[in-house]
Amino acid sequence: MANGEITSIVIRTVSRIIIPFIQIFGLYTIIHGEASPGGGFQGGVILGTSIILLTIVFGLEEAKRRIPRGLILVFMSLGLLIYSGIGLLDMLFGGKYLEYTRLPLPLSGHEISALSILCVEIGIGITVMSVIILLFFYSVRDEDAHGINA
């Protein structure tokens, strides 16, 4: 229990199995947000919780080894960059900001727009996921430093 990880073999095995499924469900929620309830925020939060589960079960050190701080920072910016980048691209091709149909793709107007919406949702998902992970990492680290469980 030194760095807060759970030692029970049942929980460790079950989480090892369940985490990929949570992540798949998160991706499904993001991608299927166009046709059913869901979207970037919801899916991003689900993806984030899978990492939170990983942290709770396998400890902060393991989670940090897999997801370093710099990566979270890059992801946080990347999501927003995708979103605003799409807007800037639209502007580059002569439209207004976020006027999706102006992208020069060999597709019909509303297909381009649907595609752009998908990209935007993915961008939102990335940002939300990394912020959720960041929130959890920081709060856990702080508690460790203070030694409430020590």
């Binding site: 890059v74 946080m76 910016s77 605003s84 807007g87 439209g95 207004k96 900001y97 976020l98």
Partner: protein, 489 residues
């Protein structure tokens, strides 16, 4: 490209915000240069926009026309506010290099990121023509303000920030409620569209519309710290880092006042004629002016004194809004401009003094005038301007406000302005007397570094110039008032 200029006002700081942490991972000193570069770019764009704004620019984001999509409106008033924000921020950013690396040596990257987010929020609030979009950007600005206040020197900053957060989120909830009520009876969120529909909605749902006004006014009064909802402000400004104090004092409350003007003009004369909201606002503002000044006299901490002085100065702006006539509103908007310069200059000067000496207590200011002559000179100019000595800019906004109150037959407000000028003189002259004529008790203090001194002096010179050439801003404000059609005057 030129028709896309309005969106760049928000996109440039936003893109800077993503770049800063990425560059910061590699080399943290570059954060300052990126921020300064982007603000310079913004400043030049906003000068350009001010010229274009004579014909009001409507920018439909995503190509969707207003009631369905979000619209950006650049009319002279918002162009003026954008120019003010970018100019003051440019100076504050230049000033921040030394100050931040001393006060927050471990978190320069994060500081500049959140600071640019604050700017993004402020610019977004000003430029948008959609009421819900305004709420979103208000929250960006508020959230970053909470964080920026919390990183001030002492642990009290955390408490001040938390208090601000609680009160600020009550305000945000009220504004959200107000938006909800308006949307409930109109079905639209666009400001221009709302002002067309509202008279009809008012006929069938008078109470809902009135309640919406009340919630907006109360929420915004909290955000701009109008007495008696000002309790968060003194602690927040006192404990924030000096750069943040200057930025918030000079701009955040002004943007709140701007939003108040916009919201009131949505409701328009037909609605505000029925209820004495303007009267109530001006009476509350009069009380705020007096109470703020009296509180300021009682302080010994210089930053806290300036914070209470802010409470009183916000009273002036709201008085101008509440007077609801052309002259009064001219005074109010002129005071937004003048107070941004004066308070910015005062907080930057005090920041320089704290940077060099660590002094915050007024009684220890003795002899500083001889040790840091240029900083104290800037401080004195801004202080005299706050008191309202004629050739300086503070006099003229008070003059217009007094004229406006006489015009609407409310002599008592002119008296309030006079009385408050005397009180201002009371607390500022005390500092000036100590600084210039007191016996020096500091031996090895010298002048602040140039990068801090120059922005402070520019603002001080601005105070003089705005006073001498007062006709330029006044005629510009008059053209704002005629073009922007601020409905309730």
């Amino acid at each position: 490209m030129i028709q896309n200029l309005p969106i760049f006002i928000v996109i440039i700081p936003l893109v800077t915000v993503f770049l800063i942490p990425l560059v910061g991972l590699w080399k943290r000193d570059y954060c300052f240069y990126i921020s300064a570069l982007s603000i310079t770019l913004l400043f030049s764009i906003s000068v350009f926009l001010l010229n274009l704004s004579i014909n009001v620019i409507h920018y439909h984001i995503g190509g969707w026309e207003p009631p369905w999509g979000i619209e950006y409106v650049v009319d002279p008033l918002s162009a003026f506010m954008i120019l003010l924000i970018t100019f003051i921020t440019l100076l504050v950013i230049l000033y921040s290099k030394k100050s931040v690396s001393k006060e927050l040596p471990n978190s320069i990257v994060e500081f500049y990121t959140v600071f640019m987010l604050l700017i993004t929020g402020l610019l977004g609030i000003v430029i948008t023509g959609d009421i819900f979009n305004m709420y979103v950007f208000l929250e960006i600005a508020s959230l970053s303000a909470y964080a920026l206040i919390a990183v001030g020197g002492k642990r009290d900053a955390l408490l001040a920030s938390f208090n601000y957060l609680i009160i600020g989120s009550i305000a945000a909830c009220f504004i959200l409620l107000g938006i909800g009520f308006l949307y409930m009876v109109t079905g639209s969120l666009n400001m221009a569209d709302l002002s067309v529909i509202l008279p009809k909605a008012y006929a069938s749902y008078p109470r809902v519309v009135l309640t919406a006004i009340i919630f907006f006014i109360v929420g915004l009064s909290i955000k701009i710290a109008l007495f008696p909802l000002h309790t968060w402000l003194p602690n927040a400004y006192t404990h924030a880092p000096s750069v943040v104090s200057a930025e918030l004092a000079a701009l955040m409350t002004k943007v709140g006042a701007y939003v108040m003007i916009r919201i009131l003009s949505i409701f328009g004369i037909s609605l505000l004629g029925d209820v004495p909201i303007a009267d109530i606002l001006s009476w509350v503002a009069a009380v705020a002016i007096i109470i703020g000044s009296i509180n300021a006299i009682a302080q010994t901490d210089i930053k806290r004194m300036l914070a209470y002085s802010s409470v009183s100065q916000i009273g002036y702006i709201v008085l101008g809004i509440g007077l609801a006539n052309q002259t009064g509103l001219t005074g109010g908007i002129l005071h937004i401009l003048n107070h941004a310069f004066m308070k910015g200059c005062l907080f930057l000067a005090v920041g320089a003094i704290i940077y060099k000496t660590g002094i915050r207590n007024i009684n220890e200011f003795q002899g500083l005038g001889r040790k840091m002559p240029y900083t104290m000179l800037a401080f004195s100019i801004a202080a005299l301007s706050m008191i309202g000595i004629p050739p300086l800019c503070g006099f003229f906004s008070k003059w217009y406000l007094a004229l406006g109150s006489v015009e609407s037959g409310k002599w008592i407000f002119a008296l309030v302005i006079l009385l408050s000028s005397l009180l201002n003189a009371g607390y500022f002259l005390r500092v000036l007397e100590k600084a210039w004529f007191g016996k020096s008790i500091h031996e090895e203090v010298d002048e602040a570094p140039g990068s801090m001194l120059i922005p402070t002096l520019i603002l001080a010179i601005g105070c003089i110039l705005l006073g001498i050439f007062v006709t330029i801003p006044v005629s510009f404000i008059n053209s704002i008032l005629s073009i922007s059609k601020l409905g309730w005057t």
